[in-house]
Amino acid sequence: MPDKPLNNKAWFLVLPVLGFVLFSSLVPMMTVVNYAFQDTMGQNHFFWNGIAWFRHLLDPSTDSGQRFAGALTRTLLFSLAVLAIEIPLGIAVALCMPRHGRAIGPLLVVIALPMLIPWNVVGTMWQIFARQDIGLLGAALNGLGIPFNDTQYPVSAWSTILMMDVWHWTSMVVLLCYAGLRAIPDAFYQAARIDGARRWAVFINIELPKLHRVLVIAVLLRFMESFMIYTEPFVVTGGGPGEATSFLSLDLVKTALGQLDLGNAAAMSLVYLLISLTVCWVFFTAMTQIDRRREG
């Protein structure tokens, strides 16, 4: 051990950040917890309501419980569908990209383009794209005789939103996987070539294990972001038709700001937070464990 004096006073330099986090997230979250146990008649006058909000929320026989269960199921389904499409697709696209040559630079820029577009713009683009009167997608499908109307049919609305998310975020999976693939030394491929390994064997035995870490990150990021998706479905379908695409976040905002039902919304967001926190923790643990096993 070097004989340097240990000075931990530098930790005080993070105090401004702590103050910022306190006011931007911690205090608002405490307020949400407070709301979750109280009811109000307006005028900023609150009274104690115990765990009644949670009881209603978690009981599927009540109105709010039914709504919550529906929204939670839809959100989970959406996240799973997004992962099931974007992860394999992202890997496939990354595998098809050239590893060397001049085309890489422009190619990466083109692939990254969708990620640079703000959420509400993406939503507006797809909202117009899916319209059955003037939208390319909607009009073309209807012209072919396939009934498509994202304001009337749940299947149309879901496929529009799924396609939109795939279009918007597959690039991120591609870029992560491409970086992971580039990090594999050529010696591995040479050894495989000497052994006469087929393309599939190379993928299963070399590329996939080496992509393990970036894939965990990709799955975590895609899950969290699709689990919290708000702006795009809000712009494209507004949660409709009916409740078909009304995800947790949309329902939450509707409850909190549309109906000003603060207690119910607060209880909802706490359960929502709990699920997000659990998923984050699981992935974080998985990621750090992979690292540690690799080192150890």
Partner: protein, 87 residues
């Protein structure tokens, strides 16, 4: 912010737990240890798992049981002890 004494106690206990953890980390440093979770955990990990698990115990209780809240509290404390002892 519409504080009540109940939520106040809750956050005070959380803050207290963090302070105790920091003091322990300074005065009684530890090495991560491998337990029933299958990977090395520190005291902080065990506290986090205890709090998170406690939240789930309460939620499941409200979903399926629904009686007095002292039972899930006892369950949470037992779960926390088990986590700190075996995880």
């Amino acid at each position: 912010m519409a504080w009540t004494w109940q939520t106040g106690v809750f956050f005070a206990l959380l803050a207290l737990a963090l302070v105790v953890m920091s003091l322990l980390a300074i005065y009684r440093p530890e090495v991560p240890r491998r337990g029933i979770l299958g990977f090395a955990t520190t005291r902080g990990d065990r506290l986090f798992v205890s709090v998170l698990g406690g939240a789930y115990i309460f939620i499941l209780w409200m979903r399926f049981g629904g009686g007095s809240l002292w039972y899930p509290l006892a369950g949470t404390i037992l779960f926390g002890i088990a986590m700190f002892r075996f995880a």
